[in-house]
């Protein structure tokens, strides 16, 4: 059973104030690059894993998707998502992605935003995704970058001599549970290496098509000067893959 921090009152109240919740996809800086990895959605069957407030599900329907099945573990998230649309072709569903089983050869697109790094039993989920995609179907996902999830103390250190900040990387090869504080204490994440993610995809007939380690461009840095630290180490990894 996955941890369900999203249904904790304290977490939820902070989480919904994030720019990417208030403004949706437009508030997620990595969205333009992730969007560019998607095929034309017209008439496609879409699965959204970790749908949150349903921003992507609604985007997919606005862009012609025939249907969207949108899954989340959090009842609060799903209630909010349901309140934002009455589109009958979006099916919201509560399920634990650790245990999800999918029909074979059914979806054209599987999308997942910043969810896979919470899933302990990811090999099984990726296997289900591989099976459930039609030939030439797309998996498009974002995860927290392994460089971001690895460290035992994941915050920048300022070098006293130079004033330069660096990211104290350790434990990169030590895959598994990381416990961090994010609005509340002990949010559980799963660290995996880049190689482990890539091989999980390749082993399930998901051929790599895109791979982007997000960073802000000059315009974004002008608007958000604090994002400059993103140039020192990546936070988000975006991957596109195609079913063989």
């Amino acid at each position: 059973m996955s941890q369900n921090v999203y249904d904790q009152q304290e977490f939820f109240e902070s989480y919904i104030k994030l720019d990417r919740q208030v403004r949706g996809l437009a508030g997620a800086p990595e969205w333009p690059q992730l969007k560019a990895m998607l095929p034309n959605l017209d008439a496609l069957n879409v699965l959204d894993l970790g749908c949150g407030f349903g921003w992507f599900a609604r985007f997919a329907r606005e862009n012609g998707a025939a249907s969207v099945r949108a899954i989340d573990l959090s009842e609060r998230m799903l209630n909010k998502a349901r309140s934002l649309t009455n589109d009958e072709k979006i099916e919201y569903e509560r399920a634990d992605l650790e245990e999800l089983r999918l029909a074979e050869n059914y979806y054209d697109v599987v999308f997942s935003s910043l969810t896979f790094h919470y899933i302990a039993n990811l090999p099984t989920l990726i296997k289900e995704i591989g099976k459930s995609l039609r030939p030439s179907g797309h998996l498009v996902c974002s995860i927290e970058h392994p460089i971001y999830t690895a460290p035992s103390r994941p915050s920048f250190v300022v070098d006293e001599k130079t004033g330069r900040q660096f990211w104290p990387l350790d434990g990169y090869q030590d895959e598994g549970l990381r416990s961090t504080n994010w609005f509340v204490e002990r949010v559980k994440k799963q660290h995996r290496t880049v190689g482990t993610y890539i091989k999980m995809f390749l082993n399930n007939n998901l051929q790599l098509a895109d791979f982007t380690e997000w960073y802000p461009d000059e315009k974004e840095l002008e608007l958000h000067p604090s994002w400059e630290s993103e140039l020192e180490r990546p936070t988000f990894l975006l991957i596109g893959a195609i079913k063989r």
Copy 2:
């Protein structure tokens, strides 16, 4: 023109004492994983980029390769390589990989060990490799891992409180020249992100087949306790790709 540090007396005298020069492939800890990425070499035409003393060229011939073209910039390395074999099917050649042009649709295997991170104009070289490989041909290569090449001060820092060591990652997105000291001062390397390497391959019809961030296993750690730091951050990235 590439930097040719290998032909500097001081560098060369230290370099030839490395385990991987004295013992050849058996002295390179990442060799078993790199070898596993190779196809059966029987009757294949092989190109080795940055061949050094020719350890791989001789291995390829011992394993049935029809021919090996082995290229290096260093005259000293090539002279030593030539002295170690009289196999007429190994053709040693001095060339600058920055400027190499290759015949189309000719090689079955292109191999390159720890060389690409010295090449400034790598996009052109990868384009040439993509062109020169036959359909279903293999590119198998190792590079210094981007996590290893990125930092402005690439050496471990010991945390005074915990005694734990970490790798001071910075400048990950700042691609380009890095100048390091390795036997001699100012050895020039090129830092690129993982994403840049992967996209360079994908853009040249080289489909990812393998991706390994090398680390020592328990047996190797017993023999070489100092390699434990490899678990904190990877040094070597091994990539296998197949021409579409």
